[in-house]
Structures are given as structure tokens and as C-alpha cells.
């Protein structure tokens, strides 16, 4: 299938400026600079573009709010921190299609009236950092950014900032803190970055994949874009599959494609031909789906109705014969380690959950232990500066519901029912 981002559905190596221009590259920028930023925001809103970093917030709306904020200057941040375990879509875009990402960034900056854009890229992505620097040099030479872009009067500076690779460093306000030279600690919200962001000024923070969708939308139009996907989740999304399938990789699929297609046709099915015990559509923080839910369409609404979420598209499979408690311990340990520690509630909750799961694994605490998970999660709901505190909840609560017998076996016999 022809993708929106990957011309032939899969990435094919680094695309240089000439190749990109030969397929219409930077025409969206030229077209946009002849019109108004408001027209650009309108097209992106009409296309229904939603953020691909996990939250799915409407991009046009974010830009409009930033543009309407009275303070100057404004900033655009390309968020390529990509700290979600197993996610590789942003790296693949940056390494293979740097000019597409860059053109999207320029368009975003024009939309909000930014004078400076920051490219915040995972510091471990050596190749992506090199590729984007090379693309920046080419684009500057061609006059696509800098002073008076293509004679339009639009000025834009761009700076690359390597992102620390801890999990919260990808959170919007932590990104701002890092660019300001501070520790990657999320800020209390409100105020939201669209009004009080980088250096206290209005700031739009967009994921790499989100911005990469903008040039095709501008070039081919909102109606064309809406042909892909569903009414509320338009376009495509890049999904990341890892070592639990036969063909790990990134796959661009229209929203609404059945989960089964991604797992079986793209990923070649679960490794080792085992049966699937559970599916996590947005690892590591979404609810598990049962194998019977494998035909759930990959879009925001369908996943929500199924009790889970789409996140940033890291799909993880759990094979039959795997101890679900052991899987949850890995997840809970991850969040306990990645909690930045500034919010007492998060520190207490994440460390307690990890310890409680280890007690379950060891067969300690008896059946009353199961009730404690819901209590501690409910107690901490809505607390904390960022969403990390809410992340261990869906995997743990869904697993207890789907695999109650496994938990009970641990707690009553002290033995793992599968190992």
C-alpha cells in the first residue's frame, strides 16, 4: 500500500534534498507562504490531524491556541525524545525522511508565528542527529529557513537539542525544562505550554510523526487526507512491533485497520507460533486486550471502546505460558524507576505497586492484596504534575480482570500457575 509518510509503506533509506524535491518536497511550504497562517491552521483542522505522540490532541487546535496567545515570541518544538520503550517511528522518520520532518516543522512554525523552532531529538539517536544536521544544512542553503524564507518575510531560526533518554523527558513540559537548561522534570499544569511554555512564552510542542503529516496534507488537501482512516482518526499511524513478532519493524497503516492485520500480515504473527495470551496496543501503559479482541480496529475510538488506548502505537504481545504477574512487575518496575520523584504521590504509588506485585509473585498477602491495587490507584487519581502516575493503572487493572485466576493461584498456593 502507498503510505502517506512512507511512499511505499516502508522506509527505504535516507532521502536527500533532491529526491525529496523530485517528489514534490517543499512545495507545501511554497504554497503555504503565499497564503496566511490561518489558512494553514484551517487545512490541518479540516484534515482532522491529531497528535501522534500518544495523547491524540487535535493539531490545528493546538496551533490555534498558541497563535492566539498574546505573548511574543512564540516557539515551536519538534518532540523527538521518543522514550516510549519499543517505539522507533520517530527515529525511522528522522533517519529516513529528514526533509519531510523539517518541512513539517517549518509549516508548524509558520502556523503559530514562531521565530524559533527547536528540534528535540533523543541523544542516543546518533544517526538521526547526523541526518537532521545534514538536512538542516541543505535546507538552509536552499533558503527554506533563516531570514526571509523564500522571500516571504517569514524569519525562522532552528536549533537542535539532544534529549536526555529518561522516560519523563518526552513529556511536553519536561521538554521545555530541558531546552531551558534544567532537569527533565514535568511542570504543574495549568498553565499549558500553548500560553506559558518555553521561556514563559507560547509554545507548540508537536511529535515528529505529527509534523511529518503536515506537508502531504497541505499539498494534497484535507479531503484527500480524510480518505485514509476513520472519521475521528484520520490518516495513517506508524506502529512499532518488536521482538515478540516474527517481523519486527515499523508499519504505516490507515487508522481503523484491524489489529489482526498489523500482528499477522505485517508482523508475521507471534514469535515461535505460540498462542496469544494478551495484547497491549500501547505498551507499556495501556490496558491489555484479550486474544478475542484481535479484530479491534486501530483507531482512537475503537480502542477506547475496547477498554484500551492507542498511545503512540507500540503494540506488544504476551504469549501463552507467560506469567502475567512477571510481565506486570517489569512494567511497574519501569514506572517506579522512571518516576522523576518530584511528586510524593507518584513516588509512593509507583514504588508501592512494584512491591505489591512482587508480594503477589511470592504468594504473600493473600487475596486481600488484590483489592489494594484498585485502592492505591484510585487514591492517586488526578495527582502528580504529569500523567506518569496514571500509567501503571491500565495494565495492572486489566490484567487482574482478565487473569484473575492467575493472581488467585499465586496468592493462595504461592506458586505460579504457568511456570
Amino acid at each position: 500500500m502507498e503510505g502517506i509518510l512512507f511512499p511505499h509503506a516502508t522506509p527505504e533509506g535516507r532521502e536527500g534534498l533532491k529526491e525529496y524535491r523530485d517528489r514534490g518536497g517543499y512545495q507545501a511550504l511554497e504554497k503555504t507562504l503565499n497564503g496566511s497562517p490561518e489558512q494553514l491552521i484551517q487545512i490541518v483542522s479540516d484534515a482532522g490531524l491529531r497528535g501522534r505522540g500518544g495523547a491524540g490532541f487535535p493539531t490545528g487546535k493546538k496551533w490555534q491556541l498558541t497563535r492566539e496567545a498574546p505573548e511574543q515570541p512564540r516557539y515551536l518544538i519538534l518532540n523527538g525524545g521518543e522514550d516510549e520503550p519499543g517505539s522507533k517511528k520517530d527515529r525511522v522518520l528522522l533517519e529516513n525522511l529528514p526533509h519531510l520532518v523539517l518541512e513539517g516543522t517549518l509549516l508548524g512554525a509558520y502556523a503559530i508565528g514562531a521565530s524559533k523552532a527547536y528540534l528535540y531529538i533523543n541523544a542516543r539517536y546518533d544517526d538521526a542527529l547526523k541526518t537532521i544536521q545534514a538536512a538542516l544544512a541543505e535546507a538552509k542553503k536552499a533558503g527554506y529557513y533563516g531570514k526571509n524564507v523564500l522571500g516571504s518575510g517569514f524569519d525562522l531560526e532552528i536549533e537542535v537539542v539532544p534529549a536526555p533518554h529518561n522516560y519523563v523527558a518526552g513529556e511536553d513540559t519536561a521538554v521545555i525544562e530541558v531546552i531551558e537548561g534544567k532537569k527533565a522534570w514535568p511542570r504543574q499544569k495549568p498553565p499549558f505550554p500553548v500560553t506559558v511554555g518555553l521561556f514563559g512564552k507560547p509554545t507548540a510542542i508537536n511529535n515528529v510523526e505529527t509534523l511529518a503529516n503536515v506537508p502531504p496534507i497541505v499539498l494534497k488537501g484535507a479531503d484527500w487526507y480524510r480518505q485514509f482512516g476513520t472519521a475521528e482518526s484520520t490518516g495513517t499511524m506508524i506502529f512499532s512491533l518488536n521482538d515478540d513478532v516474527n517481523r519486527p519493524g515499523v508499519y504505516e497503516l490507515p487508522f481503523g485497520t484491524p489489529l489482526r492485520y498489523l500482528i499477522e500480515e505485517c508482523g508475521g504473527g507471534i514469535k515461535g507460533g505460540q498462542k496469544i495470551k494478551a495484547i497491549m496496543p500501547a505498551a507499556p501503559s495501556s490496558a491489555f486486550l484479550s486474544p478475542e479482541q484481535i479484530d479491534t480496529p486501530l483507531d482512537h475510538n475503537s480502542m477506547r471502546e475496547a477498554g484500551s488506548a492507542l498511545g503512540c502505537g507500540v503494540v506488544k504481545l504476551v504469549a501463552e505460558g507467560t506469567c502475567i504477574v512477571e510481565e506486570l512487575i517489569k512494567i511497574a518496575d519501569f514506572f517506579a524507576a522512571e518516576s522523576c520523584g518530584q511528586c510524593p504521590a507518584c513516588r509512593m504509588e509507583t514504588s508501592s505497586l512494584a512491591m505489591m506485585l512482587k508480594k503477589v509473585q511470592a504468594g504473600q498477602g493473600g487475596l486481600p492484596m488484590l483489592e489494594q491495587f484498585g485502592k492505591i490507584l484510585a487514591f492517586n487519581k488526578g495527582k502528580g504534575f504529569c500523567n506518569l502516575i496514571a500509567m501503571p493503572g491500565p495494565p495492572i487493572e486489566s490484567a487482574i480482570k482478565l487473569f484473575t485466576a492467575d493472581f488467585e493461584a499465586h496468592l493462595t498456593t504461592g506458586k505460579c500457575p504457568v511456570n
Binding site: 520523584g341 510524593p344 504521590a345 513516588r347 509512593m348 504509588e349 514504588s351 508501592s352 512491591m355 505489591m356 508480594k359 504473600q364 498477602g365 493473600g366 486481600p368 492484596m369 489494594q372 485502592k375 492505591i376 487514591f379
Partner: protein, 107 residues
Amino acid sequence: MARICLVCQNIDCKSRGSEQLTTELEKKIAAKGINDVEVKPYMCFGACQEGPNIVLYPEKSWYAKVQSQDLDDIVEHLAGGPHVQRLDTIDSSLKELIYQLLDTGVF
């Protein structure tokens, strides 16, 4: 069941001196001749801003903002003396949550 005295050793309470408190507390308990109380570190009670936090279990007494000079009163309590009311400042809903975790053996 032996009594325990849980002293938070997470970063915030530590920065407020909880390691020193642990050592002093152990010494004072021994000096008092109390031999059924074990002083143990705890991961986090979720009341960092009120730290250092010490919880006596199974008594379920939570003492917050504990300083060196408070330890004698806490040891007195462990020896059968009165509850140290001035250090009992934690919100009851948080206490209830943590006590339930302790009741299920999470420590």
C-alpha cells in the same frame, strides 16, 4: 508478631536526615532495653513534604517531620508511653491507605 518501626528512606526523607534518624533510633531502642522492635527502611509513604516520616506498626502511629530531639518521645511510646500527638499531622485518608498496605504485608 514483632513490632516494626518503618523509617522512610526515599530521597526526600533521606535529604531531611532519615538515615541519621535510623541509626540514632536503633541505638536509643537498644539503650532502652526494648528488644521486640525492628527498625526497617521503607520505600515511600507519599508524604515527602512532611518528612522524615516514621510509622510504628502494628500500633499504626505515624510520626511526621521527625527530628533528632523527637526520638526520645518516640522511644518512650515504644516502651509503653503515650502517643506523640504533636508529630501526628498526616491526613487520615493517606494514613488509611498506607495502613491497609501494611496490613497486607507490603513493607
